[in-house]
Each structure stands twice: as C-alpha cells, then as structure tokens.
Symmetry: D4
Subunit: 171 residues, 8 copies
Amino acid sequence: MAGKKASPLVGIVMGSPSDLPTMELATGVLAEFGVAHEVVVASAHRSPERAANYAKTARRRGVQVIIAGAGGGAHLAGVLASHLTIPVIGVPMQTDALGGMDSLLSTVQMPSGIPVATVAIGGAGAKNAALLAIEILALSDEGLSKKLTAYRKKLAKKVESASASLSSREN
Amino acid sequence: MAGKKASPLVGIVMGSPSDLPTMELATGVLAEFGVAHEVVVASAHRSPERAANYAKTARRRGVQVIIAGAGGGAHLAGVLASHLTIPVIGVPMQTDALGGMDSLLSTVQMPSGIPVATVAIGGAGAKNAALLAIEILALSDEGLSKKLTAYRKKLAKKVESASASLSSREN
Amino acid sequence: MAGKKASPLVGIVMGSPSDLPTMELATGVLAEFGVAHEVVVASAHRSPERAANYAKTARRRGVQVIIAGAGGGAHLAGVLASHLTIPVIGVPMQTDALGGMDSLLSTVQMPSGIPVATVAIGGAGAKNAALLAIEILALSDEGLSKKLTAYRKKLAKKVESASASLSSREN
Amino acid sequence: MAGKKASPLVGIVMGSPSDLPTMELATGVLAEFGVAHEVVVASAHRSPERAANYAKTARRRGVQVIIAGAGGGAHLAGVLASHLTIPVIGVPMQTDALGGMDSLLSTVQMPSGIPVATVAIGGAGAKNAALLAIEILALSDEGLSKKLTAYRKKLAKKVESASASLSSREN
Amino acid sequence: MAGKKASPLVGIVMGSPSDLPTMELATGVLAEFGVAHEVVVASAHRSPERAANYAKTARRRGVQVIIAGAGGGAHLAGVLASHLTIPVIGVPMQTDALGGMDSLLSTVQMPSGIPVATVAIGGAGAKNAALLAIEILALSDEGLSKKLTAYRKKLAKKVESASASLSSREN
Amino acid sequence: MAGKKASPLVGIVMGSPSDLPTMELATGVLAEFGVAHEVVVASAHRSPERAANYAKTARRRGVQVIIAGAGGGAHLAGVLASHLTIPVIGVPMQTDALGGMDSLLSTVQMPSGIPVATVAIGGAGAKNAALLAIEILALSDEGLSKKLTAYRKKLAKKVESASASLSSREN
Amino acid sequence: MAGKKASPLVGIVMGSPSDLPTMELATGVLAEFGVAHEVVVASAHRSPERAANYAKTARRRGVQVIIAGAGGGAHLAGVLASHLTIPVIGVPMQTDALGGMDSLLSTVQMPSGIPVATVAIGGAGAKNAALLAIEILALSDEGLSKKLTAYRKKLAKKVESASASLSSREN
Amino acid sequence: MAGKKASPLVGIVMGSPSDLPTMELATGVLAEFGVAHEVVVASAHRSPERAANYAKTARRRGVQVIIAGAGGGAHLAGVLASHLTIPVIGVPMQTDALGGMDSLLSTVQMPSGIPVATVAIGGAGAKNAALLAIEILALSDEGLSKKLTAYRKKLAKKVESASASLSSREN
C-alpha cells in the first residue's frame, strides 16, 4: 500500500485507478497538513475480498478515518463502512452520463444503521473529504486543530485579496 | 432460510423485512410457475458477512439465479454479484423521498466487469425479476419454456378481454 | 438550550421546530449510547446571529460534533461549518415538493474548503448522523467503541432473525 | 471594493473569483444603464464574517439591491438576505457535475420569511439579475424607467431584424 | 378585480382559481403589512388577451410589483413580464406529477432580457413573494422598511422561543 | 372495440385498463365535440400483435388520429407510430415511483423519423390530446373549427368569472 | 418573413436566431417533401406583440400548422397556441445548463385546454416536428401521404443496409 | 447478419449504426469468451417489421440471449422482449441532451409481464451486457463458467496491481 513512513491515520481507497486524479486532491491536502495516510485501489465489486480485508485490517494498522472515492453505482464507501465502526467518508465521482448524480445517491442514501459521511461530487468533495478527516483527527490533536484554524484564516484572506484585486482592476 | 422442499433454483434476497410485500410479488410468480426458491433477508450493510456467505454458498446449494431487492443506496444486488458468476437480478425498491430513483441508480449503474440485471422500480420490477429468472431457467427446461409461452398468451388474452369489456360497457 | 446534565458532546441544531420529529431519531440514538447532547433551534436565515453565535460558542462549551438538520434550500449545516473546525454533519430533510433533493444538494454540494458530512435524506439520515457522531467520538473513547461494535452485532442479529421468522412462516 | 465613483446603488457579490466571467454580464448591463455599483468577492463559507459584514454595511453605504452569484451548494444569496431587508437577487452558477441544478435549488428554495429573487442559471441569469435590479431602482427613477422601455424596444427590434435577415437569406 | 380600497401597489395574478389556497399566503402577508393589493385570475394560455391587458394596464393603475403564481408549464410570470418593466415575481406551484420542478424551471429559466424574480415552490414561495414585494416597496417607504425590520426580529424571536420550549420540554 | 355508431375518426388506445380513468378525460372531450371515436386496450408489450394490428388497420377503418396513453417505459405511442403515417398523440401516464417522468421521456424522446405528438403528464395531457386531435380534424372541418373557437371563448370566460367571484368575495 | 413562393402551409417560429441550426433540420424536411413554409424569429418574451400578431395572422395567410422552437423557460409554443386553434408543435431546444429538461417541461406541461404537440429535445425533435406537420397535412393531401409512405420505406431500407454493411464488414 | 461461423448464441441488436462504437464493447467481450454471436441493426421505430421478424426468428436460429442497445426513447429492448421468452438485455445509450436518463428509464421501466434485464448506461453497460449473457449461458456450459471465474480473478488481480503500482509510485 502507498503511504508515508509514519503509521497511516487516514486510508484513502478508490474503486478504480481512473479515480486517482480526483483523489489526489485529497492526498494533497493531507500532505499539506502532515497527516500520514495510505492510498489503495480496492473495488467493492471487482475485488470484494480485498475491499473487505482492507476494511477489517485498517483499524489494526492505526487507520482512524477512511476516505472512499467511487463513481456510478458507488458502493465502495458503504461496503467499507459495513465492516468498520470508524468514520467512513464517501467521495462521489463525477460521471460522464449522469454527472455524478448516480455516484452521489449511491453513496449518501445509506440505510439506517451504517453511516457514510458524504461530501460533494468530484474534486471539491475530495478536498473536503481530507479536511473532514483532519477535523475528526484534530478533536484529539491540538496541533492539527491549530493548523485548521490557520487554514481557514488563509481561505478568508484569499477571498479578501481576490476581492481587492478585482477592485483595483475595475478602478 | 425460507424455502420449498425441492432444492431451490432461485434465491430471493432482500435487504430488509420491510421489502417483503414487494418481493412477495416475485415469490408469487415463482410459485405459479412451480420453480423452487428460497427467501432470505441479508443486508449488504447491516449483515455484510451474511450477505457474502449467502452469495458464496448459493451455487453450491443449487441456486442458479439470484433476485435481490433493496432500496435507497441499494448495494445488495451489486455486493452479491461481486461474489457470484451466476446471474443476479436487482429490484430497486420504491422510496419515500426520491421515489426509487436512488435505488434504481445504485442498482443499475454497476461498473464494467460485474453485471446486475436490473428491472423496474417496485412491484412491476419484482414480478418481472421472477419472470426473467424463469426465462433464464427455461433455456434448459422445455417445460418451463412452454409455461412461459402459455403465460404470455394469457397476458395477451387479458388485454383483449379488458378491451372487449370496455367496448361492451361503452355501447 | 435543551440538554442532558453532563456537558454536551454533540450539538443538534435544526432550522425549524417542524424538523423535530425527524431529528428525535438522532437524539434517540445518542441517548441509547449515553452520549450527552443538546438540542437547539437556530435558523440560518431567520436567526442568523443565533446560528453564528451557536457555532462560535459550541466548542467552548465542549461540543465536539454538530448535527444540523434543515430542509429545502438547506444552508444550516454549511453556515455552521463556516464558523467551526469541528465536524459538522448535515441531515437533509425530506420535502413536500421535491422529496428532499433540494435539501440534499444544498447540504452536500459544499465548496472546497468547508466540509459538511452529509447523510441520507430524512429519518435514516438522522439516525445515521447520530451514529456517525458516535463513531467520531469513539475514536478516543474505548467504551463508546465497544458499544458501537455491540450495536452492529445487534443489527446483524436482527437481520438474521427477520430471515429466520420469514423462513418459518413460509414453511 | 470595486466600484464606480458615485455611491453604489447595486452591490454585486460573488462567492469565488471564478464566478467573475459570468457576473461581468451583470456589471456590463449596469454600466450600460449608468447604474453605480460595486463588485466584491465574499464567500458565505470561506469568509462568513466578511459576507455578514458586507450585508450589514451595504444599506448604510447606499446600496439598494444586492446581486449574489454562487454555485453548487449556493448559500451566498440566502446568507446575505438573512442580514438584509433590501431585495437580494440570486444568480445560480452553472456547474460541471450537475449543470447548475444544485446552485438553482440551493438559491431558490428559501424557507418562508427570507426571500431571494432567483433568476436563471448562468449568463442569462446574470444579465437578468442586473435588469431586475434596474427595474426595482426604476420604480423611483423616471430616467431609468425610460431607459428600460427603450431597452425593451431595442430587444424587440433585434428580433425583428434577425427575422428579416433570415427571410432575405432564404429568398 | 379583487382589491383593497386604496389604489393597489401589488398585483397578484394566478393562472387558475385552484392556485388560490397557495396564493392567499401572499395576500395574507400583504394584508399584515397593510400593503394595498389586488387579486386576479388571468391564465397566460386560456385568457391570453386578459393576461396581456392586465399587464399593460397595471402600471397605469399604480401597481408597482406583480406577483404571478402558476403551475406546470408555468408561463404566466414570463408572459406578464414581457409586457412590463416593473418587477414581476414568479411563484411556481407545487404539482402532482413532478412536484413543481416543471413550474420552477418554466418560471425561472427566462431568456436574457426579461427577468422574472423567482421564489420557492408552493406556500413558502408565495409568502416570500409578498415579502420580496414589500422589500421592493420599502426602498422608498420608510414605514414599510421599519415593519420589515420588526418582522425579521419577530421571526428570530420565534426561533428562540421554539428552542427554549424544546429545551424546557427535554428537561 | 368500444366506439360510437359513426365510423371513428379518433382511435384511443391505452396500454392497460388501469389507464381508463385518465383516458376518459380524452373521450369526454371528444364526446363533447361530437367526434366519433373508438377506445381499445392494446399493450405494446403484452399484446404486441394486437397493437401492431390495431395500427395497421386503423386508417382503413377511417381513423385519422391516434391517441395513445401509457405509463412507465411507455412504448405504446412510439410502437403505434412505427406502423402509421397518421398523427399519433402520446399521453404519458402519471406513475407512482417517478411521477411520470419515465412515461414522459419514453414517449417524447422519439428518434428522428417517427414523430409522436406528446402532451402533458396525466389528466391535463389526456384532455389536451383530445383537443389536439380535434384541432387536426378541424383543419378540414369548418364546423369543428367553429366549435374550437367557441370552446376557447368559454375557457376565457371561465377565467374571467373565476376572477370576478374572487373579487366579490374579497370585497 | 422567410418563405417559399407558394402560400406557406407551415409556419416555423423560433425564439432566437441561435435556434436556427436546429430548426433548419425542420425546414430541410419540409423542403424535401415540397411543403411551402415560412420561417420567422419571434420571441415570446422579447417581442410579445410580434409573437401574438404572428399567431393571430397565421391562419389568415393559409398556415395550417405551426412549429415553434425555443429553449430554457420555453414559452413560445404555448404562447402561440394560446392565440390559435390550429395545431402547434413545440420543439424543446437543448440547453447548456440542464440539457434541455427545462425546455422540455416548459413546452410539454401545458395546462388543460391549450395543447402543444411536443417532440424530442433538439435536432431529432426538429426533424420530427416537420414530419408531424406533414402527417397532419397529409390527412387531406393524398400526394403527401404517398410521399410519407415512401419516406418510411426509405428509413427501413437504410436500417437494412446499415445492418448488411455491418455484417459484411464483420465477415 | 454479422456473425461468427458457428450458430450464434447471442444476438446483438442496435437501433442505429451510430450505436456501434458502444456495442462493440459487448462484441469484444463475447469474442474474448469465444461465444458465437450475430450483430444486426433493427430499429423498433424505423423498421418495426424487421425488429419483430428478428425477434420471432432468433430462437429458431439458436439464439439464447438478446442484447439490445438503443438511446433516447429506447423502445428496442422492450419491443424485442414482447415477442420473445428468452432473456433480453437492454443497454441504454448515453445521449447528448439528457445523458442517457431517457434511455435508462425507457429501457428499465417495463410493465409487469415483460422483463428487460437492464444494465448501466453506455460502455460499461455494453460490456456488462455481454458478461450477463455469458453468465446465463454458463449455467449450462461448464467451460464458460470456468472462463468467468478466471475473468473475475483477472479483474481482482488488475485492481491489486493498480494499487501496487500506485504504492510504488508514491514511495
């Protein structure tokens, strides 16, 4: 499995290697925050044993949050969640035919009993999945919590400078 | 598991006992055609081991076709199919919030490699799932094949008499 | 604010008192797991200051996870999340006109930077929001973690007995 | 803030600088009608204080109508409206995944009590937002009202000449 | 035409008398704010001359804002707007078959040049249409403006007491 | 086949006797206009020969326009049209699960070459199907044409009286 | 108005000159069948008088069927139909944001009383609108009727040769 | 008809030659498994006799499973199924305007009595249609059954190596 040296806290699972460009937006954020993570491909349908095994061994390896990206009839997050009691975050991939509405509904409409924390379709969702994982980890990691606050300030600053540069351009 | 005396040829699996009223439309058709079947509840999410075990042992018990009914983020048919190379038919349940669009997309939008034969949302789908299973079994069962032909004739007859009674009522 | 004696770990916020019947499915689960929580009404639109204040003071009061239920153009979870770096879980309410598709898209399609952990529309979502909050808290609470494992076993058992009673009824 | 010399009557707010190409269709119309306006970036989620402050100070600065453009879970118009009793016009941005259906529902499905005047998705909406703002301002500005009447005549003329040039081409 | 003694400032038009129960939520708000209004039935399709005449004479009679409620292929607001340069607010009616998605898209997706200020589907939309009309009128009516501020405070208060009564009930 | 004494000019075909309550809104209009018609049940799927035969013999019997009502995967109008070069009008039935969106798309999205004149989902569509058939027949029947003009005047009158009774009630 | 020398039997109206590439698929079919027609631009919203006048004078000029193409909140066909008792065929344009779902629902969901014969979204719809107009005219024009039969035979032949060339390529 | 030397077991029918690039994904899989098949073009609408004849003679020629690909108002699979009691698999084509939602609903929402086994929209569906056909044939063909098991193992392997190469790249 792909990972940083430290024992991974976040496991990123994708149903297909074609999901990588989107999911790298999640790994990018985790790297930026210095959160150890691993990246694996494990299809709920083409490799069900692998997916189940990944889920069953994740916690043992120290993983605390799972991020699962899948598209179409996106069962991956739900299938992982069925084997786990740690938080599973689902990222619905954008799809050609239906834009990702299929991925979104397959991921979010989980039956009562087994939650999946679903984020937005596509890239914004992948980024936010990483941030959500960090928010969860930060509950017991003061350092991460401070980084999050700083990150938010930076976001607000960027909005401000975008507005300022707009203003100067117009005048 | 619920079953007829004979070794079951069709396995009907539903994600929740609340799907029973719909799925009984499938068992009714199978009974009408004299096709041995078993009925089980096995949630892909709440009882993943049970669902996987059901799938893995089905063929050994003589099951030739699976019918899986589930609603919402309906992963059941796909999860069973991931463990099986016999045909799996998915029945998307009607749902309160989205009418069953969520069940339909979750069931039908399977990734390349693992097919699920999806039928209509709700009761018509459950009936047709049974008929599709029978069509599959009839390929190597002349008796069933004849019953199917007779069934179709009966359907056409019913349309004709409905039309006739309409006509007589109008005159 | 409505609350248990202990300092609340989970804050349940709803946009309107009419969301209460749904959100009580969340409080029920939290109570079952013995997780201290508070319940407040705070509309993102009708009482923006109240909503912002709630968000800004939540952490200080010990709240670790927020569950926000809202319907239609459901901005509540996003607005709370904009003021918070603890996890915010959004429950999209079912709606008369569009079934809850409006609530779902308003809640889940958050822009990059501010995550909302979205669960299913309506009652199943409310229950799962509570379970997700518990999964998050359980990362640093061994007792809760054990309760979750027990809960999952109970779910699987229920599926098994439902199947068994089906079977006995059929025979 | 970006603006014309005169005290701005219309405030154009966008959630992200990437919305600028669309929102410039609004500023273009306002400029054409000689209506003083200001353009700012203020995200409801990434810069909630900035958005709230903008709303709270807008009227004081003479702003009479707000135009807010945002995409996805588009909360901006609703969040601004929650702090304001002057008309807020929402422009739902077109989005990659869902075409803008998410932006539209998030913007228009406001709860009872806090209206947002929603226009069409994307560029046509941005233009019409400016025209709607001008219609509102024209209620107490005879000059603007005449310009609107002239603008409408020009629109009708354009249709006529398009039809005529079609006709001549065909003959 | 149905109206208060004073010259009407708001004209409420509905495509069919069956829209009345919804549109009375608008007249109720206008009455509460003491805004003179008239209520007429004028179908864009069944009585096109009547609809056009209403639009063409509205301003002359002192009407400053139009509220148009219609369902299905809801053309009424757009047809009125094509004859008017005062603000037209469209209320999409909830519909049996498609929930009001048809009414919403027909009303909001106006082509560039002719704006319709669209509000939410059904009752919440009707109420907000009246409030939006009042916001527009209040730009040049200090008294109305104060009433709006008071109304908003009352809304916020109601949220607060709902929360308080929830809290006391729980304890 | 159900019919009036005169040779039928309009053939009303429905896929199932359960469509009758809706389709009787069409026969009601035809009767009101004195247009001879016949009513038959002929499913495109359950009785394909019957449907094809109906289409192939319709013109010979004097039928000039076909109205076909069907729901779900509504193929009836398209199947009839494939055998006919007289106008075929499709009425999409309202459906439980998807409201009739399935019926609508199945009926209207015909491939280039074989048109189906599609009307609104459900009852309004059935009525309008009859009126459209009458408009077509009226092109060569002056009497029908006058009745249509009178019918439209009556519609406009009804709108006017509805408005008047509203007005008197309010005053 | 654009037209052939003979008095036009079909009037093609489009809401915007940008609809021309699609609507030329309709004029192409009419030309192929030798049906005299005229082509005009007349927006229901930007040029309401022009649209109404076109409708009111069409019949007088000999027009027997109207084809109206419009996109988005597509009111054109309905507005023309409100002034006419000859058949009006609506072609919903494909749109950027919502694919044409907005155009389709705005065109097809007409209220009871005023029918619009709606065809498929975009180019297939434009072609079929022309064929539907020809089917209507052919009811009283034996020559056209024969051409339609020939056209259908040609369609079937094309399918056959496509199949044959496929077959030879494979072998 | 396009075919391999051996009597075809699977009949692939497409509504238009433009569906070929998608449907070749199905023929590719069948060829890979050595399953004799034939490929024909037969439109349900443009060549109804041809489609009916194909269906009626298929079984006689030894065909055991039909795969039908069509787009838009996709009636082909249903029309073939109405004449057949062997399994018919429907592949909904992706479409420009609505992404394939129209094809999907037209194909899957079959009325009770006549099943169509529907797979995913577009290429993944075409591939899975072939695999589903093979699963059906494999019920009475031990060799095919073994090939299917091998195919699944290969799929799982591919997932594993994709994951491994990801891992090595990251390290």
